[in-house]
């Protein structure tokens, strides 16, 4: 079994209301140079490396609105 880190992020071009809200808050706080804030999910799991792509496509992400990538750590 491999230790795997999965990152799920909103697809570019898809509206990201959370990212927009946090970006506006950062601007309000004075961090004027911040842009392109996007909020996604981070999932850790231990499982079979040869099934991770399938799991990402089927349930961990929704390919209509999200992208995913993963790292196998050990």
């Amino acid at each position: 079994m491999a230790k795997i880190k999965v990152y799920v992020t909103p697809k570019h071009g898809v509206l990201d209301p959370q990212g927009k809200t946090v970006e506006a808050a950062l601007h309000t706080m004075g961090y004027k140079n911040v842009s392109n804030v996007h909020i996604g999910k981070y999932i850790e799991l231990e499982g079979p490396e040869n099934k991770i792509d399938e799991m990402c496509k089927k349930i961990l992400s929704n390919p209509i609105i999200e992208d995913y990538r993963y790292e196998v750590t050990e």
Binding site: P10, L15, Q18, L60, I64
Partner: protein, 220 residues
Amino acid sequence: MKFGVIVFPGSNCDHDCYNAVKDVLKQPVEYVWHQEKKLDHLDCVIVPGGFSYGDYLRCGAIARFSPVMEAVKKHASRGGLVLGICNGFQILTEAGLLPGALIRNRDVHFICRHTDLRVENAKTPFTNKLKKGQILNIPIAHGEGNYQCDKKTLTELKKHGQIAFTYHGENPNGSVANIAGILNKSKNVLGMMPHPERAAEAILGSADGLGILSSILNTR
């Protein structure tokens, strides 16, 4: 006409749907637990609102793998009617029974209030008692009701008359083309964010939802 209301762990509009069908439409209705695998005896399946599986991961993402969802797909493929309301709509998109996806509301908060809907297609099993352009007052209650799809899908939806309802006036959640509810291509599956079952009797503040529910009886 025999109705079934699916119950997932976390469904919370199942009783409202059951009540609307039993006491207002006066039709036979039963609860269907999410572990069920057969829906052969039902004419119309309602996938109700709520927070199935706590809305963990994404709304509807886990519910769509419940055993009953395979049966719902079979029911839909043989022409049976499926009505997904709110969380039910989210589950139907996750299950691939309807195109697109529902994301966080534009203004990021949960919205619970009455909205005006415009009927965009009155020639469906769910809208045949209504008129195109008619305005219905029906409540919404959601945090993730912002319907999104790519341009190609939107063109297809428009071309095939799959947009059932749009928000009239202000769009509460930022959905593309003001979409509030869509149908599959063959029009036997409807997903909508507003709650017709919460507007099925005058005592609830509006009975406009009854137009949708009673249209279903008109189809057979």
